[in-house]
Structure formats: C-alpha cells, structure tokens
C-alpha cells in the first residue's frame, strides 16, 4: 500500500476548533466519528444514499461520508452532539419524543440534522416541504409519518420561542 503523507487540517465542530492529521482518502465521517468521537454520526451506507451520516456544514446539509476530510478544512460543522446545550433538549428532539417516533434510533441523528436545516431556513414549512427536506433520510423501521408530525410540532415550539427544553435522566 502506498504511503500517503498526512495532511493537517483545522475544522470547527459544534463550536470548537479541532486540528487533526488526515490521509487524503479519509472522509469527514471518519474524522468526526473516530478522531473526534462524535459517534452520533452513523455510517449506514458510505455512499450518500441513506442519510444516516448527514451533518450541517457551513449551513448546508451534507452527507459526511461523501466529503473528504481535506474538503472540510476551515468549515463549521454541526452534529447532533452540538444541537442543544448539555442537560437540554432541542425543540426538534422534544417534538420527536412527543410524537413517539423512536424505534431503533439509528436514522435519528441524520433526520434531526435534516429537520434542523429545514427549520433554520423555513420556520413554517408545509407538509410537502417537510417531506422534501427529509427525502434523503431512509428509515427502515418506518417512522416517516411521525417525522412529519414532529417537524410541524418542532416548528410550532420554535415559533413560540421554546427552542430548548429541560429533561430528567
């Protein structure tokens, strides 16, 4: 196997700067999961086809398995770990709990990122817009109908000014 030199990059994840050494073939998902420990980012397919690795990069929703680490240099990344302050739930998380959408939970981080991206851009989305925004997130357990309800409910919470919620446990 050829020796590829390390490349040093700096990226901002969940508000904090990190400097890491990466190989040219390493992907953003590898850096997030294994170098920086953000395991909420899941690898469901490695090809950008399932949505479980979705993160928000410089305000855009992207498949982190399809971004080479080097291409993420200097960017601002948001993962689920950075969505709400410790001890609090974001309105999206609260809404997903309130609509009892949880099954295996593997697709949830990607879904939550997609909802966050949607609601940041569109605070009052229609059902059509919600479905389009989540159309890249596969859920085999079949919680789709609940995602639609949850997105509407989260939008309502946020409009009322309730962005964060306390929780026990």
């Amino acid at each position: 196997m050829e020796e590829y030199p390390d490349i040093e990059i700096t990226l901002n994840v969940n508000g904090k700067d990190y400097t890491v050494k990466v190989k040219p073939y390493e992907r953003l998902i590898d850096v997030l999961r294994y170098k920086l420990g953000f395991t909420s980012v899941k690898e469901g397919c490695g090809r950008g086809e399932c949505g479980t690795c979705a993160v928000i990069m410089d305000g855009e929703l992207v498949a982190s398995c399809m971004v080479l680490a080097v291409q993420a240099r200097g960017k601002k990344i948001l993962t689920l770990e950075g969505l709400a302050p410790p001890g609090k739930l974001h309105a999206i998380q609260k809404a997903l709990l309130d609509t009892f959408a949880m099954q295996c939970g593997f697709c949830f981080p990607g879904v939550i990122m997609a909802m966050k991206h949607l609601l940041d851009k569109n605070p009052n989305p229609t059902e059509e817009e919600i479905k389009e925004a989540l159309s890249g997130n596969l859920c085999r357990c079949g919680s789709y109908l609940r995602f639609i309800k949850a997105a509407k409910l989260a939008a309502e919470y946020i409009r009322k000014g309730q962005v964060y919620f306390e929780f026990k446990g």
């Binding site: 040219p24 086809e49 992207v62 080097v70 990607g110 159309s135 997130n137």
Partner: protein, 288 residues
C-alpha cells in the same frame, strides 16, 4: 491530494500530472467510482476551494452562464428556480439525488460524469448549451452535444477542466420542464427521464427541443426527428400522439436491463414526453 491555490494553479498541476491526477469537484460520483474500485487515482486535485472562481450564475451578453462548481443548492437560490421560463431547473432539482448531496454535487460534475442519469445534462441539451473548457493552453468553447460523446466519455483532454456552461437566455413564450419516473420518488435513476424547452405562439409550437436520458446512445440525447415533426404544428394532444407514436420510435432505441424492459421504456418515453410538453405549456400560459 493536491490542494490548488487558484484555478491557474490547478490547471498547471493537471497539465504536469494528468492522467495520474484527477480533478475532484463534489465527489458524489468520483468517490463512488473509487469505492467500487473502478478508478484508482494517484492524486486528487481538490477543486472545492475554488468555488469563488468557479461557482456563479450570471447573465452575460444575452447568455446565462453557470460556473462548473455551482451546486444544485446554489442554483436553487437564483432566478433559475423562480422565472417560469427556467423552471425545468426546479424540476431537475426536486428529483436530483437527495437533499444531502445537493450541496456537494456540481453542474460541471454532472456533465463530466456523462451517464443517462445526468439530469442537468439532459436539461441543458434542450437549452442548446455550450461548455467552456480551460487548460494551461487557454480556453475553448464546444457545444455540449459534441463534448459528451458516449457513456462516461468526453471529448476533452485530461488536462482540461470544465469551466462554465453557457446557454442563450430564453425569449418570450418559452419555458422548460423535466420529468423522471421510477418505482419510487427519490434516490432513483429513473426508468425514463425527459426534458423539454418549448415555445408557443398563438397555440402553435414555434420551437421545441426534447431530450431523453437515452435516445440511441447510452447518454442523454435530443430527439431531433420528433422535434422537427412538432415544429410549426398546433399544440394538441393529437399532434403529440402522432409525434410519439409515429416519429419517436424511428429515432429511439430502448434496451432492456434488470430494471425494466425496452418495451416499457419506449412506451413510458411517449407518456412522459406528452406530460413534459403539457407542463411546459402550462408554464408558458401562466401556470407553473
């Protein structure tokens, strides 16, 4: 991995190292080709930092110019998604890959990949687009149809990059539309895709261009005989029916594969052609 400081830097590097060095734009196709073992580049030239030079949508001298690194999400922020003449771009966008790839994929990349599922390529063919290529030797502009020769085959040198896509602004009474159909609604290749650019004046088809995912090669192409038949005629369902029953089958060959049969694809091409023309017509007449 080579990270160029600017476009000229990238071009010089490519000139020295292509084809061992391959340009990387969004990577939504290239990374999969590498994953499947189909390409083994020694060096990737990362163009993602050159967005300021290569991502834009401008009107220049009666043309619309799109930079090669423009992503579908970039396009979505422009007039191309609002002006009824160009809503074909919105149609492509809604069925393009999936939302998590629309900030990574690029229009230049979509053309560069050159497969029948390259939906922007299909649409741009109906806009009579040209492509500006650039290298250390300079620039040259070629019609899109001449650049894309066959599946994954472009008539360009390894040291050339796609710089921008140019097509004439559409005058009055024009509109565009695109359709794609498969077993499910998204993350699909499409059994058939079709794009059109149509002009209607007083109920007559004064100009029409129709492109499909495949006509008779394994890449998107124009159905020119069908276009010729339609030009000058009344826009009516009867005329369209004649066009797809009598003319289209003479220039289109549909093969069978594990996804669908040639017979179904041929018939579906007829149905979608009709529907995409109706969609463009309703946009011209004030709907959307």
């Amino acid at each position: 991995m080579y990270i160029p400081k600017n476009l000229n830097d990238a071009l010089e590097y490519l000139d020295r190292h292509a084809p061992d060095a391959i340009p990387l734009a969004g990577g939504t196709d290239l990374l999969i080709q590498i994953r499947e073992g189909k390409i083994r580049p020694k060096v990737l030239v990362d163009l993602s930092g050159l967005k300021s030079e290569l991502a834009y949508v401008k009107k220049v001298n009666g043309n619309i110019v799109i930079g090669a690194l423009t992503t579908p999400n970039d396009l979505a922020k422009t007039f191309l998604h609002k002006d009824p003449k160009y809503l074909g771009f919105l149609d492509v966008y809604k069925r393009f890959a999936s939302p998590i790839l629309r900030s990574l994929a690029t229009i230049g990349g979509n053309i560069g990949v050159a497969v029948s599922a390259s939906d922007y390529l299909t649409l741009l063919l109906t806009l009579n687009a040209k492509v500006k290529l650039v290298s250390v030797e300079g620039e040259r502009t070629v019609p899109l149809e001449e650049l894309v020769v066959e599946k994954r085959t472009l008539a360009k040198d390894p040291n050339e990059l796609i710089r921008e896509i140019i097509f004439p602004e559409l005058p009055e009474n024009y509109s565009t539309a695109f359709m794609k159909l498969d077993r499910r609604e998204i993350i699909i290749t499409g059994y058939v895709t079709v794009a059109t650019c149509l002009q209607l004046k007083d109920g007559k088809i004064t100009d029409v261009r129709i492109a499909f995912d495949r006509v008779n090669k394994r890449i998107p192409g124009r159905a020119r005989k069908t276009e010729e038949f339609l030009k000058g005629k009344e826009f009516s369902l009867e005329v369209i029916r004649q066009a797809y029953n009598e003319v289209l089958p003479t220039e289109m060959v549909r093969k069978s594969d594990f996804r669908a049969s040639g017979e179904y694809r041929m018939d579906l091409s007829k149905v979608l052609m009709k529907r995409v023309l109706l969609k463009a017509k309703s946009r011209i007449e004030g709907g959307a």
